[in-house]
Symmetry: C2
Subunit: 109 residues, 2 copies
């Protein structure tokens, strides 16, 4: 078996840096494809193909208007990623956690 498809899940879709750029750009408001091309200085087919992947994984929504298509990031689709990383929060010892853990250790004595 080869590497999983980029469309298989959010983790794979987001592995591509260009796609992360696109998602960041389209988070606040919707963008027409051509404007994304100009803003990110990518080739138009490249943008379209990345958007296809993002759409397949539910990471963006699309709206047709005349000959333009407006895309917008669907931030909700990123929650699985956020939630997964959050399960490690208690292990990356920031100050709050260190305090918590010290308290736990003290209470065990």
């Amino acid at each position: 078996m080869a590497r999983a498809a980029t469309t298989s899940d959010v983790f794979n879709a987001v592995a591509e840096p260009r796609r992360r750029e696109i998602l960041a750009l389209m988070a606040a408001r919707e963008w027409a494809v051509g404007d994304v091309v100009e803003r990110l200085k990518m080739d138009q087919p490249s943008v379209s193909k990345h958007l296809r992947v993002l759409r397949a994984t539910g990471l963006v929504h699309m709206r047709c208007q005349g000959r333009q298509k407006f895309y917008r990031t669907n931030a909700q689709a990123l929650r699985p990623l956020h939630d997964w990383t959050s399960t490690f929060e208690r292990y990356w010892g920031d100050q709050l956690n260190r305090i918590k853990q010290r308290a736990e250790a003290a209470s065990r004595k």
Copy 2:
């Protein structure tokens, strides 16, 4: 250009489901390779190869002891992922955010 190397960054390393399983397993304490093999029911070479990728991206630490090697998740390395997803938090309209945004809209009037 093909897809970025799995060792190029955390996003690519974590795109593989098996590697996420391994990271989750080794978050709380260190594990010898053989124990991971038994626990996750994967082939030993497969585990070794995944660990190689995880080590290259700093996602795990290793400690040698005799003929065993103990691996442990380095949760800190997951922070970039967490931080990136967090930038979208204000867009996944949960109730708190909706209230915030309504307040902002009101103050703009």
